[in-house]
Amino acid sequence: MQELWEALVQAVNLIVSLDPEVMEISWRSLYISAIAIILGAVICIPIGGLIHFHDFRGKRVVINIIQTFYSIPTVVIGLFVFLFISRAGPLGGLQLLFTPAAVIIGQMLLILPVLTGMTISALNGVDKAIKDTALSLGASGSQAIWTIIGEARFAVVGALILGFGRAISEVGAAMMLGGNIKGYTRVLTTAISLETQRGELVLALALGIILIAIALVINVIVNIFLQRY
């Protein structure tokens, strides 16, 4: 118990003193997951819109499949991307394996289903009368669609923040695709895993506290947005 307490105090010290290694790892974690979420948003919001605004056969099935993939294991994503970008894979020539880009791709794929599915439910949550109102006030078809997406903005932003939380806290894809290379692809989760195994509990604990703090901040932001929505 005494040991744990001392470790905790030292961990807080590392954070407060802005230890270069801790800061560098945290910063990398943030920007890798942020890029993943931006790419994911660019892909998922239009796809969610397409699915929402078009009636086609099997729409229900497609939405069910998307929802099933909400909880796809991160190691499966890691394995899947690994097969594609490893030397022998179809995209091996791009030499992406063990680069930050590989981690970004993995995290982006991981959150695609959540972002798409939640975009669809966000659009579903918009009052059906909004579309008629927009059209009757002179909006063209595409202007009306943008208006509806605008009405769903709070729920969509909520989805993005939730996706960011899932991306930054996953370890499987980051480890398998980034390789946990110090100063290059080492992020919060992979560093915690490694330092714990090495017995560097103080460093692991400091990184863990930062990760929890990020999760906490994200949760607060999500709640504020959802309340406004």
């Binding site: 009052d127 009368a129 909004i130 008629d132 109102t133 927009a134 059209l135 009757s136 006030l137 002179g138 909006a139 063209s140 202007q143 208006t147 605008g150 009405e151 709070f154």
Partner: protein
């Protein structure tokens, strides 16, 4: 030329007929009120007029131009109209942005938008509301925003679907005044659906009665509310004392009708033997304590079944061999000491008896 015209419009959903054979001419600059019970098809008709829905068959002409046959022109034509829905859907933004919307989608510049919105806020009594979140407004305020938003693009036709349903009386008054103001001031042709008969009477230049998917009578308010040409309309506009019977004698324009054993004289040219529906407006029935010689052709001995006072009037239900309702002033009811069970004479002129030939097959 009519501003807006529906020709033989029919609408269906699945196999249910929502509108059939609707022919309607809306004249430029008028307030045309569509009245009818809930579910009659009023909203369906307005949506078709606004080109939001395509009719199953039939055509809509805007200013003589066939809009249903030119899908490429629909946006341009719809931009010359605006519609306000029963439940005002406000965008999740400020009042200013809500009202500005029609100008934004028409790519107006920022200065025009700002000055037009300010003008509309002023005219609808919403000055100072610009920065408020539209979702926080009361029902009456939201409907005013919806009206301002509809009128900001200066449309030629304004379509209103039950614009005052669920509003408190003072908000109703404000909305009605605005509708009149826009019609007179901007000359906007207005088509309004309502189930509120008195609102129809207050606002309409002309009225159309839509019942069970059919437009069954179009006319000016006094025709619709005082001499409807069918029993269905009479019943809907609240005319009491509707009976059916048969003409048993006809002499120099005066017909005697047998209505369930009682004989009633009315003005009609229909031949003996015709099945007819008749109605007598309660205010045309005169009550006297003694049988007096008067010009009224019909005098019946009746018993008072019940009285109900409302304001300065008294509604009296009578039993004259058939049920009859009469409307007298509270003062005369008190003077005559009317009460339940009292025996009394009810009289009405032959001209007060409206006679409608029963449609075939009924």
């Amino acid at each position: 030329m009519a501003m807006l015209q529906a020709v033989n419009v029919e609408q269906r959903r699945d196999s249910k007929v929502l509108l059939k054979g609707v022919n309607l001419d809306i004249e430029k600059g008028e307030i045309f009120v569509i009245i009818g019970p809930t579910g009659a098809g009023k909203t369906t008709l307005l949506r078709i007029l606004n080109l939001l829905d395509r009719p199953y068959s039939g055509d809509i002409y805007f200013n003589g131009f066939n809009a249903t046959r030119s899908p490429g022109q629909i946006l341009q034509i719809r931009r010359r109209m605006a519609m306000v829905f029963q439940k005002p859907a406000v965008f999740n933004s400020s009042v200013f942005e809500n009202i500005a919307y029609p100008l934004r989608v028409r790519f107006n510049d920022r200065k025009t938008v700002a000055s037009r919105v300010e003008y509309m806020l002023g005219i609808t009594g919403l000055s100072g509301y610009g920065k408020r979140k539209a979702k926080t407004l009361s029902g009456g305020e939201a409907q005013r925003v919806a009206l301002a938003r509809a009128m900001i693009s200066d449309p030629e036709v304004l379509l209103l679907d039950e614009p005052t349903a669920n509003l408190d009386p003072s908000s109703v008054k404000i909305i009605e005044d605005l509708i009149i103001k826009f019609n007179k001031g901007n000359g906007v042709t207005t088509v309004m659906a309502t189930h509120d008969m008195s609102q129809g009477q207050r606002l309409a230049h002309r009225v159309g009665v839509l019942m069970q998917a059919e437009l069954i009578q179009v006319g000016n308010p006094s025709q619709i509310f005082h001499s409807p040409d069918s029993i269905r309309v009479a019943g809907f506009v609240g005319i009491r004392n509707i009976m059916n019977g048969k003409i048993i004698a006809a002499e120099s324009g005066i017909a005697t009708i047998d209505a369930g054993g009682s004989h009633i004289a009315g003005v009609s040219d229909l031949p003996v033997g015709s099945s007819v529906n008749i109605y007598i407006r309660p205010e045309d029935v005169t009550l006297t304590l003694q049988e007096t010689a008067s010009s009224a052709r019909n005098t019946l001995n009746c018993t008072i079944k019940s009285l109900s006072f409302s304001g300065s009037l008294c509604h009296i239900s009578l039993d004259c061999g058939f049920p009859l309702e009469a409307l007298v002033t509270r003062k005369s009811a008190e003077e005559m000491q009317l009460g339940e069970g009292k025996n009394i004479y009810a009289s009405f002129k032959a001209t007060a008896v409206k006679i409608l030939q029963e449609p075939n097959g009924r």
